[in-house]
Symmetry: C2
Subunit: 361 residues, 2 copies
């Protein structure tokens, strides 16, 4: 089974090719980023989305800035200045997912560790780092899938929200990685796909991935998930995350919190699948996460057509916070954290394999 | 304050003029129904929607059938046969709202009470009946508004779902009637409007009504209601109903159930505003309500544009059931039923005013 038939993130001849996910599922087109500024735009305008995918894109954004320095024959010092600006621009492109900062902090660490490097060496070093981050993300998602598949019963009906699939990550996916791994293990599953207003990542992207994989999927409106749970049609819920606080509170696409409350009410397990790079130990709880508020037009227009009367206000939170107490378990590449709390989350980092020893701060 | 600046249901020169609500808010166009079959189409295809509004339309649909009989010089017996067919067609046009059957049963009662009537007398009698049903609905909604306004605190932030406004009824509205009445009483309120996928009645119709009235309104995606509740931004929820069982379980637009669970979790009062014509004493609980399943295309297409990959299945329940235990109170024209149950619901019918003595079976 392929983990992703479209090369949605590709680094070719010093340029970053990003699938324009805004156009899915009906059009496959790419944005070619030639500078870190192009990457900032691609992240802000959501050509690329999904916490791990924007982390990977940011890592290559830094490389593009190093490339600019190289082409302009910048001194090592001036290069480091440009990289500082590029990092800050990339970190600021979207506020909620921690993966942007995680990626730029990896670059900063490399720069600190290689204080004597020439501009050329910086370029080469950061390019290797970005390629590693990309490859490791896919590898971690396969581990997440493997760790999560034991939570998926035979013939499970699984509900997911937004897209935490191959296209939200380097490949394979987090929440969809768990589903893919269960299917690869020979389990029969079916998936309810929340459409995920306003940008319809479920309808457009998750549905697209599941159809590609031949996994039985049914699209539903976000507001029908509760009723479908009450009818006994959902065995478990699995979603991704954009940032997880030290106590286990998880920021994820708007609508996740409602699902978690509904899952609790109906006694349905609610799982968050995310790599350790999504866990932000610097914040003690979800209250510290900045929730991005996006344009009202994302709600009042669909496909360029107005769906609401002129003059109506709209409130467009892109994410919400699900408190740890509503999360049955967090599925990471290092294992499953049941009933997540501060201690268990800190512990999971110590269960590192060689990948973790190399990459986790 | 107007209760509705558009005459969305109008009986003129023996024809029923229905606003085509599918085109709101950007186009104001009418369907002129010349036969009961036109009314069946208008209800099925949702030119007209909202339980009370389709009840009124059905009442006039019967009149159109009587008009057809009159124009064809049918005998009284043949007229009664045609009316039987017309009733059955109208009742079958949508399965969930009880108001269709309620309206046709009024016509049937009139026919039983006037067994000697000529075709001309039948036409005149049923036309008067339909006009009464229409006028009484508006009058009842004003009573619902009056009864409900005491539940609305000063400066309340109110969440509503779908459209239970003037356009869903004869006029003034049920859930929006409560909001209108509170505003008429001088209360300051603001309204969160759930957009209500798939057909966006909140974004298209409720937002339209509230803007017309100058009531502060904010459009939100259905999936953000829970998070907005958790942020303490919602003081109460009020929705309409399509059918209420004898025990207080309420069928209403898909998504209502999720809101009720979320309201319970956050300790927010959850009110259902509906006329007694919506209460179906013939069914003991919500389990007996037939939930309409509509076309997958309503989910996979928005404004004629596909939003999902070819071949994806979709599940489109039009309604869901909210159990009585999640309803803080039902607001009717006869009073407020707090913690609704079988006994209190039976009792409310005995608190009839002259309208009720005249019209309630």
């Amino acid at each position: 089974m392929s983990n992703n038939s479209i090369e949605h993130i590709a680094w070719r001849e010093g340029k970053l090719h990003l699938l324009d996910q805004r156009l899915l599922p009906h059009k496959i087109a790419f944005k070619v980023c030639e500078s870190h500024r192009d990457v900032v735009t691609a992240i802000k305008e959501m050509y690329v989305r999904g916490a791990p995918a924007i982390g990977i894109s940011a890592a290559f954004g830094i490389v593009l800035a190093a490339g600019e320095a190289l082409s302009k024959s910048f001194s090592s010092g001036k290069t480091r200045e440009l990289l500082k600006t590029a990092s800050s621009d990339l970190e600021g492109s979207r506020p909620t997912a921690v993966n942007l900062k995680w990626a730029t902090s990896k670059a900063k660490s490399w720069l600190s560790d290689n204080i004597e490097a020439s501009t050329e060496e910086i370029y080469t070093g950061l390019e290797m780092l970005a390629r590693d981050i990309f490859a490791d993300d896919i590898s971690n998602n396969r581990k997440i899938g493997f760790n999560g598949l034991k939570l998926v019963p035979q013939n499970a009906a699984i509900l997911t929200h937004c897209n935490a699939g191959a296209l939200a990550t380097g490949g394979y996916g987090t929440a969809l990685g768990v589903i893919r791994a269960a299917v690869e293990e020979g389990k029969k599953v079916s998936v309810f796909v929340d459409e995920t207003r306003p940008l319809l990542q479920g309808a457009r992207i998750t549905a697209f991935e599941l159809i590609e994989e031949g996994i039985p999927a049914t699209l539903i409106t976000d507001n029908s998930a509760g009723y479908i749970m009450s009818a006994g049609k959902v065995d478990l819920i699995v979603v991704g995350a954009d940032r997880i606080a030290a106590n286990g509170d998880a920021a994820n696409k708007i609508g996740t919190y409602s699902l978690a409350v509904l899952a609790k009410y109906h006694g349905i397990p609610f799982y968050v699948a995310a790599p350790l790079s999504t866990i932000d130990l610097s914040i003690s709880s979800g209250a510290e996460v900045v929730i991005e508020e996006r344009s009202e037009n994302e709600i009042t227009f669909i496909g360029g057509n107005s769906i609401a009367p002129e003059g109506i206000k709209a409130l467009n939170y892109a994410f919400d916070i699900t408190p740890a107490e509503l999360i049955t378990a967090i599925i990471t590449e290092n294992g499953v954290i049941e009933k997540p709390d501060k201690v268990k989350i800190a512990d999971i980092f110590t269960k590192g394999d060689t990948f973790l020893e190399k990459h986790t701060d």
